[in-house]
């Protein structure tokens, strides 16, 4: 790369990028500033100004209110992610290396499940969970996340396993290895990056989900998104609490994104079906 010169093009490039960065960072700044103010200092005309006294107690107050929901979300997200990635890995293995007649059709039918607006399955899901005595608690929600996670996890693993040379599988078969031993000895050890990508994707999706959380759980099993909506939903709210709550609810996924961004982006791209 040649040295950058001070040209009109560069001024435009960096100027636009700076403006866009400000636009993208604006909500984060606003959330942080409001969360750090004393409730009495929060007023609409001075919303942008830095707090005169930095007050951390909003975070502990918000955490006190959101702690049960936070724990629910942790359990939900970990179980849902584990279940859907393990099943997705096995499915992806079959879809890419053990194709049978009609498996491509089945795969396409799976993918369709990824794109439906979830409102269309909400009522029967609600009824089924009620009939199975799973309505209202975490197990039912976990089940829903595992099932509706299958399309995307199977897709990501299928694309990932397509990169493993088929010759490797063939030679293992000639050496007498069967379906499961090939998976355990060859495919699984190679799929750690696939597991990282898929788990991050599922973790983010399940952590951020709201519709099922609000429709399928009772108060004691609410995930964090529902807790935050309740915290922010009241009419006479002081805005420091919802802002602190937003930051808390965003922290786990933001941490993943900042520290494992490369895998996060790969999941993002893998989720867009294109190969």
């Amino acid at each position: 790369m040649t040295a950058r010169k001070f040209t009109l093009g560069n001024v435009f490039l960096y100027g636009t990028l700076a403006l866009l960065s400000l636009f993208f960072l604006m909500p984060a700044y606003m959330a942080a500033v409001t969360a750090l103010k004393l409730p009495a200092d929060i007023s609409l005309p001075t919303a942008w100004e830095w707090p005169s006294v930095v007050n951390w107690s909003s975070f502990s107050d918000a955490l006190a209110k959101l702690r049960p929901d936070f724990i629910n979300s942790l359990i939900l997200t970990i179980c849902g992610t584990a279940g859907s990635t393990v099943l997705g890995s096995l499915n992806g293995y079959v879809f890419s290396k053990w194709k049978f007649k009609g498996s491509d059709v089945i795969f396409t039918l799976f993918l369709f499940g990824m794109f439906i607006p979830y409102q269309v399955i909400l009522i029967p899901l609600f009824q089924t969970l009620r009939a199975m005595n799973l309505y209202g608690g975490l197990p039912g929600l976990i089940l829903a996340h595992i099932v509706y996670g299958l399309p995307i996890t199977s897709l990501i693993f299928r694309n990932f396993y397509a990169q493993i040379p088929t010759a490797l599988i063939e030679s293992a078969r000639l050496d007498g290895a069967g379906f499961f031993s090939i998976y355990l000895r060859i495919v699984f050890p190679l799929s750690i990056p696939g597991f990282v990508v898929t788990s991050l994707w599922q973790f983010t999706q399940i952590w951020n989900e709201f519709l099922w959380g609000i429709c399928l759980t009772r108060h004691t099993a609410n995930p964090i998104t529902v807790g935050l909506a309740n915290l922010a939903g009241g009419q006479a709210v002081t805005w420091n609490l919802p802002m602190a709550g937003s930051i808390l609810a965003a922290l786990p996924v933001l941490a993943i994104y900042i520290f494992l961004g490369r895998y996060f982006i790969r999941g993002l791209l893998a989720g867009s079906v294109k190969e």
Binding site: R4, L20, S21, F24, P27, M30, S43, L44, P45, A47, W48, L90, N91, V94, F95, F100, D104, V105, T108, F110, L111, F112, F115, I116, P117, Y118, Q119, V120, I121, L122, I123, L125, V147, Y148, L150, R173, G178, F179, N208, F210, L211, I214, C215, T225, L228, A229, W239, P242, M243, G245, S246, A249, A250, L254, Y257, I258, L269, G271, S272, K274
Partner: protein
């Protein structure tokens, strides 16, 4: 040989549980919702474990589109259409623009990419909560001009009642035919260069004839309603659209950036040698090459805009009719109003609109796999 077929059986059995789960939870449930939408399940006994249901055919749908009480749903549907179009244009356009800027390899590219993409990791509830505060009438964005020495804005972001592009729902049939004619003509104009004769016969002439027919004989088409009912693009939804574009343009940026990086440097150099400018390179070489990416982005964004629920719930609350969306309406009708069959009908309408985009896309994907 026998072992090989045993392995095939194992493969099939491994897939079987997922097949059953997806079969029941996706296809079975969709069928069940279709059935529910044709019953009268609702009212006081709706929450019983074995509720009373009777088959009523398409009555719920007719109510939604032409009934007296369906006005809210119709406004929501109109909102959803405007919302989808603006989200698509905004997020694809801005995402592509940022990707082109970052493709110039500015200093600090990694940091910039992180900044543009972080909203994607947030939940709609989180971003909705923050944006609601940013769009508060006497604060947030509206007071920003003050710091530059201007008067503060007075725009009512989330509570405006004014609407633009208003049309009368009574005329919906005529409008739909006009839209169809317009699309035919548009496709014809695009195809004119490739094969003028076919474009005229297949697209342009039918489009013009159809448009002229409605213009002359349109009054024969039945009115959808017996009274006038106006719907338009409500300005209060602008705030929600901006928040969604903020959240999703980083995603399209990532898609395009991956695409731009995939184009070989040789091709780029060749284009430049042939005298293409920067703008020319993107307009004539890079962006046409990334058509599959654009299609993916459109499919995914329209899917997101159709199930838009959390963000609106967090930003304007469940009770603001002006910014409603069918996805939110479905939740309110079903779980707050206990009108399960009406909720199911709304869900099916959403589903049909989504299927219009997705089925052709998936069929295309499947065919592509077959060819390889």
């Amino acid at each position: 040989m026998r072992e090989a077929s045993l392995d095939k059986l194992k493969a099939f059995l491994t897939l079987l549980p997922s097949m059953i789960l997806v079969g029941v939870f996706v296809y079975g449930f969709i069928g069940n919702t279709i059935w529910t939408s044709m019953t009268d399940w609702g009212g006081s006994g709706a929450m019983a474990l074995e509720p009373q249901k009777h088959f009523v055919g398409l009555e719920n749908y007719i109510d939604l589109f032409t009934g007296f009480l369906g006005g809210n749903f119709r406004q929501d549907l109109v909102n959803a259409v405007y919302y989808s179009v603006m989200l698509l244009a905004g997020a694809v356009g801005l995402g592509m623009f940022i990707a082109i800027l970052l493709d110039q390899k500015p200093k600090g590219e990694d940091l910039l990419r992180t900044i543009f993409l972080y909203p994607m990791s947030l939940s709609f509830i989180v971003s909705g909560t923050i944006w609601r505060w940013l769009l508060a009438p006497q604060g947030g964005v509206n007071v920003l001009p003050k710091y530059l020495g201007f008067e503060p804005l007075t725009f009512k972001w989330l509570s405006s009642q004014s609407a633009v592009l208003v049309f009368n729902w009574q005329d919906i049939l005529r409008i739909l035919v006009y839209v169809a004619a317009f699309i035919l003509i548009l496709v014809g104009v695009f195809k004119l260069k490739k094969d003028a004769g076919r474009a005229m016969k297949r697209w342009l002439i039918p489009g013009i004839v159809l448009g002229a027919l409605v213009w002359v004989f349109g009054s024969i088409l039945p009115d959808a309603l017996f009274m006038e009912e106006e719907h338009g693009f409500n300005l209060a939804t602008l705030g929600i659209i901006i928040a969604t574009i903020w959240q999703y343009s980083g995603y399209t940026m990532a898609l395009y950036l991956a695409g731009f990086n995939g184009i070989s440097q040789d091709l780029r150099d060749a284009a430049m040698l042939d005298g293409a400018s920067h703008a020319g390179y993107y307009r004539h070489v890079a962006i046409p090459m990334l058509k599959p990416i654009t299609i993916s982005a459109v499919i995914i964004l329209s899917h997101i805009s159709l199930k838009m629920f959390d963000l609106i719930f967090a930003m304007t609350g469940p009770d603001n009719a002006a910014t409603g969306h069918p996805a939110l309406n479905m939740y309110l009708t079903t779980f707050r109003g206990n009108e399960f069959s009406k909720g199911a009908a709304i869900a099916i309408v959403l589903f049909l609109i989504a299927a219009m985009f997705i089925v052709p896309y998936l069929v295309g994907q499947y065919r592509q796999q077959g060819r390889r």
